[in-house]
Amino acid sequence: MEFKNLKLSKKTTLFIWVIIIAFIIAAPSILPVFRLNLLGRYLSLAIVALGVDLIWGFTGLLSLGQGIFFALGGYCAAMYLQITSSSEFPNNIPEFFGLYGVDNLPFFWEPFRSPIFSLFAIWVIPALVAGMLGFLVFRNRIKGVYFSILTQAALLVFFNFFNGQQKLINGTNGLKTDVTVLYGQMVGSESMQRMFFWITALLVIAAWFFSKWVVKGRFGNILIGIRDDEPRVRFTGYNPVLFKTIIFSIAGGLAGISGALYTVQSGIVSPQFMTVPFSIEMVIWVAVGGRGTLLGAILGAVFINYAKSLVSEALPASWMFIQGGLFILVVTALPEGVLGWIQGEGPRNMLQRFGLKRKIETYPSLEIKNKTEGLKNE
């Protein structure tokens, strides 16, 4: 099975990239504001999908709790925006505190007055939380299904905790960002949103290159080794716990960045980011796009979400069926995802089925005669 067939032909890669970059450049002028904003959001989701691909596609860790890190990043961004825009409210603290009779800013809000701290917090805090959680889990050699269940349980713990903390972070209502002010402009304004779109597009590409750098070479090979045969890696003298902790932490950091970008473009962060279905959807994007192919994760996230919004507009409530069907289709027919299928033997097999391409020889070297004959006939 060609699981990690990263090498698209140069032409194909270039072609795909030209389309993507042209589209990003042209998007603000051809798309209505509403659509542009949606695209920006979906691009930010591509970053969390890259992280899922790193831990699942390459390292074999199926995390169902990436929503934790996604939400943490979102909360970090929202806290900064809220606190810097709270000067006209009583006690100079964000408005919602008034609802619960809180007069003093909780201590952990303080550092978020600093833009630099917040900029780092967006990815460092999720990465640290992921690193700590990961280290404890991996050190105890919890893997496979147990790892997935554990991450989902952690997600529920975070979800319930955030839901219940009205006095700290506005609980279930979440933190709004669209009416906050950044550099003298409303975050929800059109020009600000266009800005965020560009930033998101740039960061997706940066995250893609970063992920590529991580998985290329020996480090990435060890990750694949861990996925395919972890004990073998261990007996070769490597400590899988370290590698897994690092990659899980990287995925957490990417999720944080993704969550922050998603928050500023959707206008709110709330515990809804930490619901179980949302984290499972992240896995579906990667599965459909093609795990082990980084580009597949990006395309999966953007296209599935775009399809989701288009379908939901046309046929409300039908999306869940379509998404479920898509997932079943991929699992049964395209286990390597759409991009994995294209890169592998998929297209050739299909053409063969329709008689449009010769079958590949079992022993090509023994069938030279047939081949030359075939060429003559053509």
Partner: protein, 251 residues
């Protein structure tokens, strides 16, 4: 404590109990540096558990394992590997989704820390080592093929090369010739023989002809303990061994 100081590896009174079942029962064994040792025994004699104990996969219920004078008990697998214990598994376990070269890179790379691997290119002498290894196993032409596309015999050899690439002081080789052709078996025997002297090698196998070709000391395991030790000829004339192992008609 470690009684025999000039031995590279010694197992002392090792007992491994799996919920009451004694996989190893008061096993004693020691290896000198540079020795080639064959370990045989009927199915369930504890051959693989014996390797598991040395490499840290299984913790013995009782007893001690000493390698270069250090106790291995309680050490993690990767630490034991770094001390210089290399292991080849029963069925070839190579990384099938990586190329032959990438497989060998994993084995020869040092230091084995994540930071080193992500930051730095592989060293030149390590690349030379890889080329050398590929010549030894005759896979130079397949350098960029996926290991999964190799034949069974080639995988066995690749795994042996990966073992060599780790430059272990002690090589534990579990059934290296299972599924190989006679010719490949002979080549493997010669390769292992040529390694001893400089390296200490433990070979576990069923194949009597192969063991005979190794021309080494043989330890016979039965029911988790060493039944007898000696050259192939002594072993084959030992009554106890004949009873439990050799005497059985082979189908």
């Amino acid at each position: 404590m470690n009684k025999n100081t000039n031995s590279l590896l010694s197992l002392e009174n090792i007992t491994v109990s799996f919920e009451g079942f004694l996989a190893l029962n008061d096993l004693n064994l020691s290896l000198k540096k540079g020795e080639l040792r064959a370990v045989i025994g009927p199915n369930g004699a504890g051959k693989t558990t014996f390797l598991d104990v040395i490499t840290g996969k299984v913790k013995p219920t009782k007893g001690g394992v000493f390698f270069k004078g250090k106790s291995l008990i309680g050490r993690k697998e990767h630490k034991i590997a770094r001390l210089g214990v290399g292991r080849k598994f029963q069925s070839p376990r190579v990384f099938e989704n990586l190329t032959v070269k990438e497989n060998l890179e994993i084995s020869v790379s040092t230091p084995k820390s994540p930071l080193n691997l992500i930051n730095k290119k592989i060293k030149n002498d390590q690349l030379e080592e890889i080329e050398h290894l590929m010549k030894v196993i005759n896979l130079s032409k397949k350098i960029n093929s996926k290991a999964g596309s190799l034949s069974h015999g080639q995988k066995q050899w690749l795994e042996i090369a990966m073992l060599l690439g780790q430059k272990p002081d002690l090589m534990l080789v579990d059934e290296p010739v299972a599924g190989l052709t006679d010719e490949e078996t002979d080549l493997t025997a010669d390769l292992l023989k040529s390694l001893s002297g400089e390296n200490t090698v433990v070979v576990i196998d069923h194949d009597m002809e192969f063991i005979r070709r190794l021309d080494s000391n043989v330890s016979v395991l039965n029911q988790g303990t060493v039944l007898c030790e000696g050259t192939m000829d002594t072993i084959q004339n030992n009554k106890k061994v004949i009873d439990v192992y050799l005497g059985r008609p082979e189908e």
